[in-house]
């Protein structure tokens, strides 16, 4: 399903927090329709890297090109990139003062400037896709974690992004809720969405990823297709990491 056209290009990207070098010379090319899973120990810079892609974090040197638009300080470019890229967070970050439906229509009404009625139709369509249309009138605080994360996915999809970023979408969930969220993500992957997903769900990685990337101390240490990545890891750090997460 992947084409040769690249959706995201990171070229020699570096980022510092003060003196701390978080991301070191990152080079990554993501083709349209490609599904990438990023894993690695905590503090390795995985979240920071994908947060740079929609400019929630600023990079200092190197290039980030999203759908042909290079990210710079220019606010118009940042806006354009954010229109192409949807994001789901570890802690969902739904807006607690708005209903589920209003959470989904907010961007449609105020960013896409759709009339309210139309926005609600679009929102309901995506709420049905994540299988919770019946919760539309509730507030996020009344839903379970898994339901909240599915609302968050629907909220991003409403903006019809070409690329979806997932930042540990299941890490804050109870085990029995992880599946319902992963199911939605698998469906999305099957439809050909370009996805970058920071996760430790190795089952998900094996099932949908075209490529698995392993990061440690701010560098991409190893990247491979899931089969080779899990069965024949090359780098010692990757081996250690995999033995730790699978070994018990």
């Amino acid at each position: 399903m992947t084409s040769n056209k690249s959706a995201i290009e990171l070229v020699g990207m570096n980022k510092w927090y003060g003196d701390f070098h978080v991301l070191k010379d990152i080079n990554l090319n993501v083709a349209e329709g490609e599904r990438i899973v990023i894993c690695g120990p905590s503090g390795s810079g995985k979240s920071t890297m994908i947060r740079c892609i929609n400019r929630l974090e600023e990079h200092q040197t190197g290039k980030i090109i999203v759908n042909g638009i290079e990210l710079t300080e220019d606010l118009k470019r940042i806006d354009k990139v954010r229109k192409e890229v949807g994001m789901c967070f570890q802690h969902f970050n739904l807006f607690p003062h708005l209903t589920v439906l209003e959470n989904c229509t907010l961007g449609l009404i105020w960013v896409r400037k759709l009339p309210k009625k139309e926005a609600e139709d679009v929102a309901m369509h995506f709420l049905e896709r994540v299988k919770i249309p019946e919760q539309a009138e509730k507030f996020p605080g009344q839903l379970s974690g898994g339901q909240q994360q599915r609302v968050a996915i629907a909220r991003s999809l409403c903006m019809s992004p070409k690329i979806m970023l997932f930042d540990e979408p299941t890490s804050a969930l109870d085990p029995e809720m992880i599946k319902e969220v992963l199911d939605v993500m698998v469906e999305l992957a099957d439809e050909g969405m370009t996805m970058l997903c920071v996760t430790h769900e190795m089952g998900f990685a094996k099932k949908v990823a075209d490529r698995v990337i392993f990061m440690d101390v701010g560098q991409i240490v190893e990247e491979n297709n899931p089969h080779d990545f899990f069965d024949h890891p090359q780098n010692d750090r990757t081996k250690l990491f995999l033995s730790q997460i699978i070994g018990h």
């Binding site: 929609n54 400019r55 929630l56 606010l75 806006d79 954010r82 229109k83 890229v85 949807g86 994001m87 967070f89 802690h91 969902f92 970050n93 739904l94 807006f95 607690p96 003062h97 907010l106 961007g107 105020w110 960013v111 507030f139 996020p140 605080g141 009344q142 909240q148 968050a152 909220r155 991003s156 903006m159």
Partner: protein, 366 residues
């Protein structure tokens, strides 16, 4: 096999319902509680009886002039009745007071429905009361246009002046406070310093000196012949002063909003103002409703300070009325009346804020 023998009946459980039950469980549940209850009831009753007697039973409600009050041991309410129009309108021309009545009736009609849940046109009415209403009432009260007689602000006074000061102060201080609070958290150093300067300046000066400066010192700095209204100067002083407090209250709310909310809103493509207006401020303001209303109530009561620059609000008029030799000792009545006026408005604000908090509560925060 022994005969069946029923155990003796237990005594009936003590009643826990009805008046007797309520007394037993709430006031006399243990010997110590009973003693405390009896002592408290004794003190409350011995304090309340004279107060109620003074205010209602022995009070004089009807009659003419001081003579009617001379024999009475209770409150002389006919003094208040006699002066009610001056307390309400000050020295506003007596034949024009209907204009004030209309303005405040409009206020009641446009704000009153906000106290009720199911009332049609609440939103349009709220917008009206914040936009068209101030303009209409300004022309209505001040006149000088549409064939209405011009009434200079020197003649505004009484409870109506108190309400005008409080209304303008509240309506202006909230938005200014929001803007200053946002400015104080801005990443742009110039805007941030200006806002910090504004807050620290106004918060560091007592309101009395702000009012003094506005009425005595400011004219010295203005070019000759240029003069603007004393009431307007007082209003600006009060508004600036309370905006500084308001800004700090609102900043408290802004700081309580987790970063994830800003990030989710940016990821969605909302710009700074969109994020603030649609995501951050609605949550932040809701969090600090108690603090905001606290500031409103303080503002309402602080309006009494305008008497030191010669504006006659309700308290100032009460003070001058009780010195009238035509009446006996009516200080208590006067001050109780003034206190009651303030209490009614402050209490309504407090109730409204509690209602608003309940209404805006949307379950657990995430």
């Amino acid at each position: 096999m022994s005969d069946f023998k029923a155990l003796p009946d237990l005594p009936a459980p003590t009643s826990s319902t009805g008046l007797a039950g309520w007394f037993r469980s709430n006031l006399f549940s243990t010997p110590i509680n009973s003693v405390v209850s009896v002592i408290s009831i004794y003190f409350i009753v011995s304090f309340l009886i004279p107060v109620l007697d003074w205010a209602f039973v022995s009070a004089v409600w009807t009659g003419e002039g001081n003579a009617a009050c001379e024999q009475a041991s209770g409150a002389c309410w006919i003094f208040i009745e006699d002066r009610i129009s001056i307390f309400s309108y000050g020295i506003y021309p007596a034949d024009q007071t209907w204009r004030l009545d209309i303005a405040f009736a409009l206020l009641a009609v446009s704000f009153g429905p906000q106290f009720f849940d199911k009332f049609p046109f609440k939103m349009p009415l709220a917008i009206f009361s914040l936009t068209a209403f101030p303009l209409i009432s300004f022309y209505l009260i001040s006149g000088g246009a549409f064939g209405l007689e011009y009434v200079p602000t020197e003649r505004w006074g009484g409870l109506s002046l108190t309400l005008i000061l409080a209304f303008v102060g509240i309506v202006a201080a909230l938005p200014i406070g929001v803007v200053v609070a946002l400015g104080r958290r801005s990443e742009m150093p110039v805007i941030r310093s200006v806002c910090i300067g504004f807050i620290e300046l106004w918060r560091g000066i007592p309101l009395i000196s702000v009012l003094f400066m506005s009425s005595v010192m400011l004219p010295l700095f203005l070019p000759e012949g240029m003069n603007f209204d004393k009431l307007l100067r007082a209003l600006i002083g009060i508004t600036m002063f309370q905006s500084a407090y308001m800004a700090e209250v609102i900043r408290g709310g802004l700081q309580a909003i987790p970063r994830g909310q800003y990030e989710a809103a940016s990821a969605m493509g909302l710009g700074y103002w969109g994020q603030m207006r649609l995501v951050v401020l609605p949550q932040a303001l809701k969090l600090v409703i108690p603090g905001i209303v606290n500031t409103f109530i303080a503002l309402f009561k602080d309006t009494t300070l305008v008497l030191i620059i010669g504006l006659l609000d309700v308290l100032a008029l009460v003070q001058s009325a009780i010195e009238d030799p035509a009446w006996g000792a009516v200080e208590t009545e006067g001050y109780v009346f003034a206190a009651f006026c303030f209490w009614v408005f402050c209490f309504s604000m407090s109730r409204y804020s509690q209602k608003l908090e309940r209404k805006l509560h949307t379950g657990h925060k995430r």
